[in-house]
């Protein structure tokens, strides 16, 4: 081993980075952006789940439990009537509602209470605080019922999902789309850059091809590949992983296809801003990771700090993920206005990117 020769390699490497300012910037900026976002998301998400309480108890004890729930820091309680509960779960304004039945006080005196707990159920992480808060308020109940041990048997009902619905089902619905989006994006951006670096793009530009024809041709080619991949992912997710699905399989496939088309066009558009495959790969942490963090895949958008919620609201992946979950977890179909919005936003995003990719194509050539 020659120290001199090793030093030559090390020096050559660092000299290269000195000229590639963008890589250097990314090397030091990207970790701060990603970690900062993560920290902000995790620390900022202190908003407790919204829970409705309908106290129908004719006796005094229901009010005590309702007060106990009210003072719990785990959940945010609003008083509702039991009849409104279902609608509020559906429109997403509540994650759960608890009904204390008319004979609640008598149940407690008899030593066995069975309050109804209605859970929205699509986000597994939000169920636990509701149950915990209820359990805690039951402890204060026991002290009021002299000399008796009150057993607590909540009647849990799920709007979506169910008792067997787990983390994989919640994340799986989002990941089925994300996997396709991510891989298609990477393949497109790299192969479009190949076109540039091997000189064939210059030839295409000197041919009668219109810019729009190049972009749409690319889109169709990669979409064919992406659809095959999407079908494979879907079959694997449903048949092998057995991810919970309430929706129409064709609808899931349609949403996946929209995401793939969006990814293709994002790849084409962003390839205009990279001069090498090396720089293109750097777009992954900068473009994909924040989108994954902010799209609600991991942290529900509703629990994000207000400023980030706004940012999530303009990212297309947020709508795509929401749409996938609505279909698979809630069984949404095209009559749902939320799914119309989600699909519409992703489709609109595709159109904007096709236009953007087409206009930037020539500019970056000279």
């Amino acid at each position: 081993m020659s120290g001199h020769r090793i030093a030559a390699i090390t020096r050559r490497l660092l000299q290269g980075f000195r000229r590639d300012r963008r890589t250097l910037a990314l090397l030091f900026v990207a970790p701060i952006v990603i970690l900062g976002l993560l920290g902000y998301l995790m620390r900022g998400s202190n908003s407790a789940p919204e829970v409705g309480v309908a106290n129908q108890d004719s006796g005094p004890l229901g009010a005590i439990v309702a007060d106990g729930l009210n003072s719990s820091s785990r959940i945010k309680v609003t008083e509702i009537s039991a009849a409104d509960g279902e609608a509020k779960l559906k429109d997403g304004s509540l994650v759960a509602y608890i009904v204390l039945p008319p004979d609640f006080s008598q149940q407690a005196q008899a030593g066995n209470v069975a309050p109804e707990v209605h859970l929205e159920g699509s986000q597994p992480g939000e169920d636990a605080p509701v149950i915990q808060a209820l359990q805690q308020s039951m402890i204060s109940l026991s002290s009021r019922v002299a000399g008796r041990n009150v057993t607590f048997q909540p009647q849990i009902k799920y709007l979506y999902g169910g008792a067997n619905y787990g983390t994989l089902d919640y994340f799986g619905a989002a990941f089925v789309g994300l996997v396709v989006f991510f891989l298609v994006f990477v393949i497109t951006i790299v192969s479009f850059l190949n076109e540039r670096s091997q000189g064939t793009l210059e030839r295409l530009m000197a041919s009668p091809l219109r810019r729009g024809e190049i972009v749409v041709g690319y889109m169709l080619g990669f979409t064919v590949l992406a659809l095959v991949q999407a079908a494979e992912v879907l079959v694997f997710a449903l048949a092998v992983l057995r991810i919970h699905n309430q929706g129409n399989v064709l609808l899931i496939f349609g949403m996946e296809a929209l995401m793939a088309i969006a990814a293709v066009n994002l790849g084409i558009f962003l390839s205009m801003f990279a001069r090498s495959e090396f720089q293109a790969v750097q777009f992954i942490p900068l473009v994909v990771v924040p989108q994954v963090l902010l799209s609600g895949i991991i942290f529900p958008v509703s629990t994000e700090p207000a400023g980030l919620q706004w940012l999530s609201g303009v990212l297309p992946l947020t709508y795509a993920v929401n749409g996938m979950r609505d279909i698979m977890v809630k069984g949404a179909d095209l009559t749902w206005s939320s799914l119309q919005l989600d699909a519409g936003v992703v489709a609109g995003f595709c159109v904007v990117l096709i236009a953007a990719g087409t206009t930037t194509l020539r500019r970056r050539l000279g």
Binding site: Q198, G199, T200, R203, S207, P208, L209, R210
Partner: protein
């Protein structure tokens, strides 16, 4: 006047940032002529070619090709452009590459003729990534002329090609010119210049001299083209 020329470059200037690549260049290429663009590396030859096929836009002056002011997409189907590096799809076969460039130029016939012209018909099934540099260059040429363009732009087409094949290339060029194809060939190899009907000598983004090889010899005062060129270059500099 300008209609009688296939290519008319009129007092064109082009800069890239602070670098002035072309500085008031005027040159005219007649139809069916083989026009040699000569000059050292970095003289501005490729810039002229890219202006002619509309990849670049002049900052000053005008470029007219086949009667149309460039850039103009409608003219492009009549232009064939062979880039300096063989720009091909390495994962496709020779024939697939040629067929692709035929298709985007709206010509689906002529693939076999083009492959035979560059003597790659036997190798048409070979994947480009496995070919030698010279074969890639030939495949690239086939891609440029498969749609039988009226104007063929060849940016250093014979780089990396053995002398035997170079002779065949030039025979093919001459045949095409006789059929009415106009050609602009850039080169820094002086023995190729003699095969052109007219030459433009370029240095530092300016046209030093223009004329037939005999004219250039006379202007440079030497029987040797290379010496004539050096003499003309030296005269301009002093």
């Amino acid at each position: 006047m300008s209609e009688s020329y296939a290519v008319n470059v009129e007092d064109v200037s082009k800069s890239f940032g602070a670098f002035k690549a072309l500085n008031g260049v005027t040159l005219r290429v007649r139809q069916g002529e083989i026009y040699g663009l000569l000059g050292p590396n970095g003289a501005g030859k490729t810039t002229i070619i890219r202006l002619v096929c509309g990849l670049l836009e002049a900052h000053a002056g005008s470029v007219t090709v086949l009667g149309q002011r460039m850039p103009n997409v409608a003219v492009l189907r009549h232009i064939g452009y062979m880039t300096q590096q063989a720009a091909l799809y390495p994962a496709l076969s020779v024939e697939e590459n040629v067929r692709f460039f035929a298709a985007i130029n709206g010509a689906d016939e002529g693939v076999k003729d083009a492959l035979e012209l560059v003597q790659l018909y036997e190798r048409r099934g070979s994947v480009v990534a496995t070919l030698s540099g010279g074969m890639r260059q030939r495949c690239s040429l086939a891609c440029a002329l498969v749609h039988r363009p009226e104007l063929l732009l060849l940016d250093e087409p014979t780089v990396g090609i053995d002398p035997q094949l170079r002779v065949q290339f030039w025979e093919a060029f001459r045949r095409m010119a006789a059929d009415g194809t106009t050609m602009i060939v850039s080169s820094h190899v002086m023995d190729e210049a003699d095969r052109c009907q007219r030459l433009g000598l370029i240095q530092y983004g300016r046209l030093l001299a223009e004329g037939s090889p005999a004219d250039i010899r006379a202007q440079g005062g030497s029987q040797n083209l290379e010496e004539a060129f050096l003499a003309l270059a030296g005269r301009k500099e002093s």
